[in-house]
Symmetry: C2
Subunit: 268 residues, 2 copies
């Protein structure tokens, strides 16, 4: 019998997701890769495991913490502050992190970040950080993920993949989900084209966003305020690869929801 | 030490996701709740478990399989067929399942279904079904989920929650993810507002789309063509509730990406 009792189950039959010990509060300059690797080693990390970690400790270790009092807001930020009710300093930071403000409604600012993410406030977060400070996304989360991957793979003695996550809202659906904002060590999107269904017909259009599925799975255990930033995913079959967030980010030119359309929704 | 070795871990510290045995090929009229309950009983399903199942066997059991040759396409379907290269019969079905076609580009049709889902082809699927037939989404997937929930809870002797899933593309991000299209037995969106972060500040805007995170987690194990439609999720802490897909579906009036906007993206 496969399934719930299947501790000896075949690869790809069971995935276990567990909280990866506790990390201390991270401050700029901390050697997060070494700290995470130590916690993972205690938890018995193995080759083939995937470690998911929220971006916030990564950002903090990399010094992406800004004191709002140190920010000089410009005219655009002051205008946006008046429109949204946010502080001019926060608006200045949001503008700095954004290629474009895609949507604005009252206090809501949906931004396209320089990485290509579409999310509220360009991913800038004021929770779980010292009063008067905010946390920005890592400058290059793939590079951050790769550093973690190297440290984790060293202690595991083989490939450990890494997903750095953030919680994003979505168009069309309510609620936030944990998504991948940085990837190292595996293919974040699996291309099933060329596979066949049970009737032997070719499958089309079946790119699986595995990186985001891993992030969402880890999100089930990452409480919002409970100090559980890192999660171990064991038993998932992944394709070894350098891995990159760009596999998951749709460029604006290929996105029918950022394209010019006519009244019938036809992309021009 | 918590974590990977934590078989006796505290609630919410470890989640195990496993393939729930094999179901035979489902045909219209099959008693899927009884069949799924039998497989789940063999796997040792317990109160508190969540069972995720792809919509296709659910739809098939409920007779939502249509022979394209039986469909009479109207004028709008014929027009759409000419524009997209799809068959007029398929276009007729897509129109019938849709409130609105939101976007169209070459063969791509992004639809808003009567349930409120935004997805390609109104969720109609031609893979893993007999030649010349297609599978529609269940008419009311929450009702479908509730039937499965009752059968599963009976054999478990307590509450087993259910998520019916489908794979959808997303705006802004590449690749498909498994999302919830039907819910029974738990709160699909958790409201963390009123909680506090580690510094004691109130958390805002932190609705967690747990139903979609469960679906995505299950998606890691649901191969596209491998006959693994059902997955058992054990160890997840859920809030008992009737549950509904509508917790996860944003109504168009609240969606800034379906709103009228000015050139700056400001919602009118």
């Amino acid at each position: 019998m496969r399934g719930a009792r299947g501790l000896g189950s075949a690869p790809g039959e069971e995935v276990r997701i567990s909280v990866l010990g506790a990390l201390p509060e991270i401050v700029p300059g901390d050697d997060l890769p070494a700290m995470l690797a130590a916690v993972a080693a205690d938890a018995g990390v193995q080759p083939g495991d995937v470690v998911a970690i929220a971006h916030k400790p990564v950002s903090k270790a990399e010094g992406r913490v800004v004191r709002l009092a140190d920010v000089q807001p410009g005219d655009e930020a002051r205008f946006l502050a008046g429109e949204t009710g946010k502080s001019p300093e926060l608006c200045e930071l949001i503008l700095g992190e954004s290629r474009k403000i895609l949507r604005r409604r009252r206090s809501l600012l949906v931004c396209e970040t320089h990485h290509g993410f579409v999310c509220a406030n360009a991913g800038i977060d004021a929770s779980n950080t010292a009063e008067g400070t905010v946390v920005l996304l890592p400058v290059d989360p793939d590079v951050s993920a790769r550093r973690l991957q190297h440290a984790l793979s060293d202690v595991a003695g083989g490939r450990v993949a890494v997903v750095i996550t953030d919680t994003h809202g979505r168009a069309f659906r309510r609620g936030l989900v944990n998504v991948a904002v940085g990837i190292a060590g595996f293919e974040a999107v699996l291309d099933h084209r060329g596979g066949r269904d049970r009737e032997g017909r070719m499958l089309v259009a079946t790119d699986q966003a595995l990186g985001d599925e891993v992030a969402a799975a880890a999100g089930m255990l990452m409480g919002k305020a409970s100090g559980r930033p890192a999660v171990l995913v064991r038993g998932l079959v992944t394709a070894p690869a350098p891995g990159t967030l760009h596999a998951l980010v749709r460029v604006p030119e290929q996105d029918v929801f950022r394209a010019e359309v006519d009244a019938d929704g036809v992309v021009r």
